[in-house]
């Protein structure tokens, strides 16, 4: 090996190291930005109420007292249950409807581009504008302070975005598969149920998870349309801010509990979303 060749190899090695270092340093910074507040939250949730406020932080004995207190001293479990009911209900009802809408858009071009944009246009307004008329409507329909009402409200948020997202999964490759099934003797419905839906399932599931999280984290509609018995987690969390000030330790424990389902769902979301999107439009 000549010195020259060895030199270029060393140079290439250095270049390789640099191209490894740069993205990794950026990732480290970003991860820290996202993770540090979460770790801080965890620390506060595990300390007792007095040390929670101490700066610089003191490291006392970790304890689960705060977690126990939110479940025993507060209706936290009821918040949790309400959130699960609303998020699950809104998603489970919206998803099949969105599948139908997206299928109509993709196969029949129903309403053309203008209807597609119209569906999306409700998402372009700030939610505050929509929530007040919704409040009046719900009041008339006796849907205020009920879980079905909140489910309906959250569906108005998730349905347009779900339909919009799913159109991409029905275009492209899947369309050809569906045609193959049609020439194989399948009716439109059989082709949809036996070919398109199974093949697009990862994408549909990912979209469903997104809708679930959207509803799970939603605050404004829940705050205005729900009452004491139908409060969801985000609203419940805000109630830890009492007139005595914020009970930061309890709030941290509650927040940890609230983001837990999201943390559990995210890995699935990532896997399905990548598979779903690579089957759909991005391929």
């Amino acid at each position: 090996m000549t010195a020259n060749v060895r030199g270029t190899m060393r140079k290439r090695g250095r270049w390789k190291f640099l191209s490894w270092l740069l993205p990794h340093s950026i990732l480290v910074v970003f991860s820290a930005v996202i993770l540090l507040p979460l770790l801080w939250l965890l620390r506060v949730a595990l300390t007792d109420k007095s040390t929670a406020y101490k700066i610089p932080p003191e490291w006392g004995q970790a304890s689960l007292d705060n977690f126990i207190e939110i479940f025993t001293g507060y209706p936290f479990f009821s918040y949790f249950l309400n959130s699960v009911t609303v998020a699950l209900g809104a998603t489970v009802i919206a998803l099949p409807l969105a599948v139908g809408m997206a299928y109509a858009f993709a196969r029949y071009n129903t309403g053309g581009l203008s209807l597609r944009l119209f569906v999306l246009s409700s998402q372009m307004l700030p939610p505050v504008i929509l929530v007040l008329p919704l409040f009046t409507l719900f009041l008339k329909a006796s849907l205020i302070n009920t879980l079905p009402g909140l489910i309906l409200a959250h569906m108005t948020l998730s349905l347009p975005f779900l339909a919009w997202l799913l159109v991409a999964f029905f275009d492209g490759e899947v369309a050809t598969l569906e045609q193959a099934a049609r020439t194989d003797g399948a009716t439109r419905f059989q082709a949809l149920v036996r070919i398109t839906l199974p093949v697009a399932a990862p994408g549909i599931l990912a979209a469903g998870l997104l809708a679930f999280l959207l509803s799970w984290n939603e605050f404004l509609y829940a705050l205005i349309l729900s009452g004491p018995h139908t409060n969801t987690l985000p609203v419940g969390l805000s109630s830890f801010q009492t007139h005595r000030g914020v009970d930061i330790a309890l709030l941290s424990a509650a927040t940890i509990c609230a983001i837990l389902p999201a943390m559990v769902l995210l890995p699935f979301l990532r896997r399905y979303l990548i598979r779903g999107l690579s089957l759909g439009a991005l391929k």
Binding site: T176, R182, T183, D184, G185, T187, Q190, I195, P198, V199
Partner: protein
């Protein structure tokens, strides 16, 4: 078995994309018909209309003498093999093959037997439990073919099924498809833009261009009597040399002027050319109708040319020659031919084999060989005004 008849069939996509323009075509029962043409000429659209995957904008489509314009694709009993195979990715090979049969409520033992026979024929019986993603391109292609065969449909529609295979596999599958067609005797419509595929596989070839049918006929017929200069320049590799020329000489048809060289036109061939006496024409010379040694039959005319390039293909050699005046021709030679670029050598052009085409329409005026003037039935496929 089925015949497929298109009468004045037109396809317009959206508002104004004219993909297929008023075509008439009869595909006979049991025939292997190849739709051939350059990219975007409307081959796939034609096939997809036959399959029922695209609506016919206007015209009539008949299968087995029944108008099927509005018949659902599921009820046409045709099998389509797609270019990308379109295997169901979430099913095993076995379930891919069984899908169509199950939909038709075929008894399980019949399904099993059909799958056994078909997979044995195609040599894919060991792949039944695999998913499409676990197959090579060639295996996927066979499975796609198997899925079409296993249903025993009225006719097969193939949209460039071989184009994703490597050259060797493609040649093997060509032979195999022909064998299968002979065995089953079913109607096949095969779409390709590969003229070798068309020549070797088709019982008849339908050549399309810009949404129209230019010519339909058996491969050799189309090869020998191309309806126009487009067909002549599309078939074979290298294709016919098409040279700008002018008819000239004492009666205006005695010779053809290729600017740097003049070729005499034998007296007995002059009559069909009179209409174009003295005017510009396109002269077609097949690469195999030019020789480097003078043949003994006395119908050849010597011209001296400059060697531009010699392409060695193995069994044969393609000589690219400069006739002067900016005209080049390709000449097919045996493997032993040798020349260096820039050399001056004589060529002998067979005057009996010259083809003549109109300049504007491209329509054939006179074909080479004993066939003489263009036969009217060939022209019947040409639409008004030509391509």
């Amino acid at each position: 078995m089925a015949n497929i008849v298109l009468e004045g069939v037109t396809k317009v996509y959206g508002q104004d994309i004219l993909a297929v323009d008023n075509i008439d075509l009869e595909i006979r029962e049991g025939e292997f018909m190849v739709l051939l043409g350059p990219s975007g000429c409307g081959k796939s659209t034609t096939l997809r209309m036959i399959a029922g995957l695209e609506e016919v904008t206007s015209g009539t489509l008949r299968i087995s003498d029944e108008v099927v314009n509005d018949v659902d694709p599921a009820d046409r009993d045709l099998a389509v093999v797609f270019q990308n195979y379109a295997l169901y990715p979430h099913m095993t090979v076995e379930r891919n093959l069984a899908f169509g049969l199950k939909l038709r409520k075929t008894p399980q033992e019949v399904i099993d037997r059909r799958i056994r026979d078909t997979t044995a024929m195609l040599g894919i019986d060991s792949l039944l439990d695999r998913r499409p993603s676990e197959l090579s391109g060639g295996q996927q292609q066979r499975v796609a073919l198997g899925r079409a065969l296993v249903r025993d449909p009225e006719a097969f529609l193939l949209d460039e099924p071989l184009s994703n295979l490597d050259a060797k596999l493609r040649a093997a599958m060509r032979t195999e498809l022909i064998k299968i067609h002979r065995m089953l005797g079913k109607t096949v419509v095969h779409v390709t833009h590969d003229q070798v595929e068309a020549m070797t596989m088709g019982e008849r070839i339908c050549i399309m261009r810009e949404g129209r049918i230019i010519q339909v006929g058996p491969p050799l017929e189309v090869y020998r009597h191309p309806a126009d200069s487009f067909v002549a320049g599309f078939l074979a590799s290298p294709p016919m040399n098409l040279l700008k020329a002018r008819l000239s000489g004492h009666h205006g048809v005695d010779e053809v002027d290729l600017s740097a060289v003049n070729l005499p036109i034998p007296r007995h061939r002059q009559a069909p050319l009179r209409r174009h006496a003295g005017s510009e024409v396109v002269v077609g010379i097949r690469p195999e109708d030019v020789h480097t040694q003078e043949p003994s039959d006395g119908t050849h005319h010597r011209v001296d040319i400059t060697v531009v390039a010699v392409e060695v293909l193995g069994p044969e050699v393609i000589l690219v020659a400069d006739l002067g005046g900016g005209q080049e021709i390709s000449v097919r030679q045996g493997a032993t031919f040798h020349a260096v670029a820039g050399a001056r050598i004589p060529l002998y052009i067979d005057l009996e084999q010259l083809h003549f085409f109109e300049v504007d329409s491209g329509l054939a005026v006179l074909h080479g060989g004993a066939s003489g003037p263009v036969r009217p039935e060939l022209g019947s496929y040409l639409k008004e005004g030509g391509p």
